[in-house]
Symmetry: C2
Subunit: 190 residues, 2 copies
């Protein structure tokens, strides 16, 4: 698949076909993409906690905050929730979490997921103490990011940021999700 297509297809999906089951082998393949990606000073301080189990997924789900700009939406309802999660942990016995590494790993995972016909969303807004307690995550690990994964079930349209400069994504009356992106001219400096 052409890389540009992968990039365009890799949207932040928040609604899924919940009955589509993810398996552990697929999840491990995705983590392997992160494993083989760059790490600052090659330190490799990240760990990856996996879930494809319905009950465990529910325990994770309830601590996540979805789509900040969609004030009337509490996140995906029953039937459209993620089929699994990769929780990125920072192992402080190796190093305090390097956030750039988190972004590198997460992007590798999601691009790899898209090639497999899957998709997902990086979620940095969550109740960390609650998730830690429910999943018994030792204090040794920081919890920088959760990646929700599954078979996407929503339409997302990219559009250009207009003169108002508003970058808030929004949903139209057909539940199509619109994402304003700044133009290349706005972000390139010569």
């Amino acid at each position: 698949m052409e890389f540009k297509y992968l990039i365009i297809k890799n949207r932040s999906y928040r609604r899924f076909k919940q009955d589509y089951k993810l398996d552990m082998d697929t999840m491990k393949e995705l983590v392997d993409f992160a494993r083989l990606s760059a790490s600052s000073g090659n330190i490799q301080g990240l760990k990856f906690l996996l879930s494809v189990d319905g009950q465990k997924n529910s325990r994770i789900f309830k601590h996540l905050k979805w789509a900040y700009y969609l004030k009337d939406w509490d996140g995906p309802g029953e039937g459209e929730r993620p089929g699994g999660y990769i929780i990125i942990l920072g192992d402080t016995e190796i190093h305090s979490t390097i956030e750039v590494d988190v972004g590198i790993a997460a992007q590798s995972i999601l691009l790899g997921a898209v090639e497999k016909g899957l998709g997902g969303c990086m979620i940095g807004s969550l109740d960390r103490p609650g998730l830690r307690k429910d999943l018994k995550i030792p204090m040794q690990y920081q919890i920088p990011l959760v990646i929700a994964l599954g078979k996407p079930n929503e339409q997302i349209i990219l559009e250009e940021v207009n003169d108002t400069g508003n970058i808030r994504y929004w949903r139209d009356e057909n539940n199509v999700h619109h994402v304003p992106k700044r133009s290349l001219d706005e972000i390139v400096i010569y």
Copy 2:
């Protein structure tokens, strides 16, 4: 190109065919991959300063610190230096730099470069005040990361971290670069 191949081929290249010229259109295509990637809260606070010009490249090069673990190597010599750079800037008029976004953008750029037969290296260790002064980068912008790009001219071998836990990359007598990676078993948590 299969994504797994792209991931494996995307090594941190530090030696290049310096006479291979990069052009601005290619650089802008790479930035476009970053532009269309995820951004926390869709804030899109990053800017991208481009260079494919020999003189400008030299002004950037002298502020970079290369390959921390290779104590006997001062970085690529004349003839094997990068053909260009993408300097990632954080526009503080939009938001203080979100490091996860930096990682996402940099990974998109480098994977895209590999598909084009190019490659590069993320460099976070640099003389920021010196670079700022030489390139007249306004104080409005933070400088989280520099990406060196070019036509790679070195062999890199991935190997598994052994029992000592040593993650330092090293070069053998033939100048082949070896990078130890932790195993999947070590980084996956169930």
